[in-house]
């Protein structure tokens, strides 16, 4: 299909553009902040760098070059897949990201599954439970979608760790440690997903195919799981690409509050330390994950729904 190839090429070009823009904006944004990165590399509260040390650091990291040269060198290395050396971690950026990526990916996936479960449960209950349940469901979703992560995290810690004493307030090895961080990310997301799902569940429940199934004598439970839910899930699945991106950004707050290893926390400390190579590296990886996820969702849409294909051509 030439139309498909053309579409794919265009989209791939879009991915490259997004990555280039992310790298460029991050690079210059970090340089615009006043202050000497070399001082930041050596400095820390209460320390004072000697001239030789500063010079050494500048040479080592190429900070003595003009900004344009630094930028072009940086882009040149990016093309060859070299993300550079992180000075705050004293190791290659790619290695550093590799160490942290797994933890964030696990957190994001667990949160996504949890959000789906919460959203489905709430939507199903509120759709079938009459007007009061509908109002409660929609109210809960609104509140859930609006709460900030740091506030929710504190409330969850207070309740589950300090009052009930059943879950650790900071991340610990093993499955228990991920519960509170994942809940913190899942609840606001479930609010969004639930709103979308509830509307489409309602539409689905009034659809002819549900009536047909009922006429066939299928049980209500079976109708809900086999027909209604499947139909209602389609628009919400489309949101998962976006949701994944928002989960990665939520990880910045959640990983810090729960002292969990991961990319979000690395990003925060890298920004504070002015570790330009590490910040751009992480931004690039997150941008890549996000665009690839969106691409995959769109591709799936084209396969499932012929209408979108026609529009693209």
């Amino acid at each position: 299909m030439p139309g498909n190839r053309h579409w794919l090429l265009l989209r791939a070009g879009g991915v490259v553009f997004v990555l280039w823009a992310a790298a460029t904006i991050t690079f210059f944004a970090l340089r615009l902040v006043p202050g000497d990165p070399a001082e930041a590399i050596l400095g820390g509260p209460g320390s004072q760098a000697g001239p030789e040390a500063l010079e050494q650091v500048r040479r080592e990291y190429g900070l003595d070059q003009p900004l344009v040269v630094q930028y072009l060198t940086y882009l040149g290395r990016l093309v060859t897949g070299d993300l550079g050396q992180s000075y705050s971690l004293h190791k290659p950026v790619l290695t550093a990201i590799g160490e942290q990526f797994g933890a964030t990916l696990t957190l994001a996936l667990v949160s996504l599954v949890l959000a789906w479960a919460l959203a489905t449960g709430l939507a199903a209950w509120s759709v079938r439970g009459g007007r009061v349940a509908w109002a409660i469901g929609s109210g809960l979703e609104l509140v859930a979608a609006a709460v900030p992560h740091f506030w929710l995290a504190t409330v969850l810690i207070l309740f589950f760790s300090l009052t009930l004493g059943i879950l650790p307030p900071v991340s610990v090895p093993g499955p228990l440690g991920i519960v509170l961080p994942a809940l913190t990310m899942a609840i606001p997301l479930a609010g969004f997903l639930g709103q979308v799902m509830r509307e489409s569940l309602l539409t689905a429940m009034e659809s002819p195919f549900v009536t047909t199934a009922r006429a066939r004598g299928e049980s209500e439970v079976r109708i809900f799981w086999r027909h209604t839910l499947r139909h209602a899930a389609i628009p919400a699945v489309g949101l998962s690409g976006w949701a994944f991106g928002s989960l990665i950004s939520g990880a910045v707050v959640v990983e810090s509050v729960f002292a969990r290893q991961g990319l979000g926390r690395s990003l925060l400390s890298a920004v504070q330390l002015r570790d330009v190579t590490l910040v751009t590296g992480i931004v690039l990886v997150v941008a890549l994950a996000y665009t690839v996820m969106t691409l995959v969702t769109d591709l799936a849409d084209r396969v499932i729904d012929p209408r979108t294909r026609a529009v693209a051509e």
């Binding site: 000497d36 400095g43 004072q48 650091v57 504190t154 207070l158 400390s269």
Partner: protein, 559 residues
């Protein structure tokens, strides 16, 4: 000045002689439940939660900041230490001697100490360490400055080392006691910086085992440990130190999560305890406080005398007499911080305190400040109530490092801003991240600034207030942020750092501090706050009398 270091005068606890040295450092905040309960217990894993940024390198020679010092205290040791009275005592060096001209120091080293990689500790090791700190490739800043006057190191024999100085340095022993110049295995130092940063090798009670970035460092017991500093060795004679099997050193940046982790028992010791947390911990029997103000300079606001309007002493005096910080400190710090009237930390025996200069009584001081400003030409006020001179507003830039100033301190600055407004000063508070903050200081774009400085001994005064320190480093950074340029002061500080006579040194530092205080160059606030909270199961925890970092060498977990 309290003569006992690191113990709160109001909470001095009398304990039995054998453990007195260990526990004088951790008298609890008001209660008696901090006394040791029973005999030391061997074994167990303790989890420590640090609120500081995770160090980028575990070798404190590289860079050299406080988070590095905190963790490195557990696995690295220095040539000398300090006792509770600030006297220099033996550690890896057993004795030392200085030549009459102060240009040659000889240190006799212990001959029975081995680094945890099996390398013997000897004179060559000392030479390799000093060379490592002084090598520009190491990028040492704190250690580099501490050893700046060492010109050459000669291994006289295996366990006798001679340091040849470029100039006499009365602060050398204090400098050498700091963990930023601690001794590491010369064989380990030969590895790449990446490797050495990940697992430095020392002689301390613990060994770096693993480091999970953005999560934790695991330290395990050094089974062959035999080199505690003299005071600890005396207090724990016959014990097989350390008691703990391992320490998990975690990084929990969020203050509320850190405290929650302590309350739920997930961790046993936390640092950077905030005033409100300390307050609420006071009512919790399962939690005790360790207050260990850092040595060196007290936290203070520097008035930039290098440019208008603070180049006029009258304006500086007017500012200081217009702001009442006592009430703010009391209310915002919940009584956890004591007001300072000295350029030096209260743990520095040579600190000079002048409370009368800095205690503001608005009934007299408001008028006095007003007269001073009138005299200095700032007689008129504009529509907003700010003083003006030649059409220009009396405006002060106050960049605040949000990495270094805790929320309570930032609130205190806001109160100062409000007080100063009444007197006609416009204070522009600018919250900045660390790099940006260094940036505006380098540009001389500030009139007020608060910058912590940790160093053992009064020589910190030379670094902060000698006019040499106005000359910026190539980065633009300079330590004399008040920009004090006073020939008499320079002279006193230079003499003090060269004299080997203790009384003369004390007298010189006293005169120097008098000039700094009476010139209204600084507004002292309080000691550099350094509060730790521990579970009451943790016994024998102590802050090093050097840079106030806690040491777990003699700590155990009560069952």
């Amino acid at each position: 000045m309290p003569s006992r270091r690191f113990s709160r005068p109001r909470a001095a606890v009398v304990v039995t002689a054998a453990v007195a040295l260990l526990l004088a450092a951790c008298s609890p905040g008001g209660g008696t439940s901090g006394e040791p309960s029973g005999e030391p217990v061997t074994g167990g894993t303790l989890t420590y939660a640090s609120g500081d940024a995770e160090p980028s390198c575990l070798d404190p020679h590289v860079g050299g900041n406080y988070p590095q010092a905190l963790i490195a205290t557990q696995y690295l040791e220095s040539l000398v230490s300090l006792d509770e009275d600030g006297e220099v005592i033996p550690w890896l060096a057993t004795e030392w001697d200085v030549s009459d001209d102060g240009l040659e120091w000889e240190f006799t080293l212990r001959d029975d100490v081995t680094f945890t990689d099996g390398t013997p500790f000897d004179a060559e090791a000392v030479a390799a360490n000093i060379a490592h700190v002084q090598d520009p490739a190491t990028a040492s800043s704190t250690g580099y400055l501490a050893l700046a006057k060492i010109k050459d190191v000669v291994a006289v024999d295996d366990h006798l080392v001679r340091l040849e100085m470029s100039a006499p340095d009365s602060a050398l022993l204090e400098s050498l006691s700091q963990v930023w110049v601690a001794m590491e295995s010369p064989k380990a130092l030969e590895r790449s910086q990446e490797e050495n940063c990940a697992a430095p090798v020392g002689t301390g009670p613990f060994v770096v085992d693993t480091w999970e970035r953005q999560d934790s460092v695991t330290l395990v017991r050094n089974d062959d440990y035999n080199s505690p500093p003299a005071d600890v060795a005396e207090a724990t004679e016959g014990s097989d130190l350390p008691y703990l099997d391992s320490i998990v050193w975690r990084f929990i940046p969020d203050s509320a999560s850190r405290y929650a982790a302590l309350q739920s028992g997930e961790v046993q010791v936390i640092d950077n305890a905030q005033p409100d947390t300390i307050r609420s911990a006071e009512s919790d029997d399962a939690i005790e406080e360790l207050d260990a103000p850092r040595p060196g300079a007290a936290n203070r606001i520097e008035l930039n005398s290098g440019k208008a309007p603070f180049d006029d002493e009258r304006v500086r005096e007017a500012f200081i007499r217009s702001v009442n910080v006592d009430d703010g400190i009391q209310s915002l710090f919940f009584g956890t911080a004591e007001r300072s009237y000295s350029p030096l930390s209260s743990v520095e025996p040579l600190g000079l305190s002048l409370p009368d200069l800095f205690t503001v009584d608005f009934t007299v001081d408001t008028d006095a400040a007003s007269d001073l400003l009138d005299d200095a030409g700032w007689a008129e006020r504009d529509a907003d109530g700010y003083r003006v001179k030649d059409g220009e507003r009396l405006s002060l830039d106050f960049p605040v490092s949000t990495n270094q100033s805790i929320p309570a301190e930032q609130s205190l600055f806001e109160q100062i801003q409000a007080d100063a407004k009444t007197a006609g000063f416009e204070v522009n508070l600018q919250p900045l991240d660390l790099s940006s903050w260094y940036g505006v200081l380098a540009e001389n774009d500030y009139d007020l600034v608060s910058a912590p400085y940790t160093k053992v001994g009064p020589d910190v005064l030379r670094i902060l207030y000698h006019s040499d320190s106005i000359t910026p480093a190539p980065s633009g950074y300079f330590a004399n942020l008040a920009q004090v340029d006073d020939a008499e002061l320079d002279d006193l500080l230079t003499q003090a750092s060269a004299t080997s006579d203790a009384d003369e040194r004390a007298a010189l530092y006293e005169q120097a501090q008098q000039i700094i205080l009476e010139g209204y160059y600084i507004l002292p606030l309080y000691d550099q706050q350094n509060h730790f909270l521990r579970s009451s199961t943790v016994q024998g925890l102590r802050a090093m009398p050097t840079v106030s970092t806690p040491t777990f060498a003699g700590a155990w977990l009560a069952p």
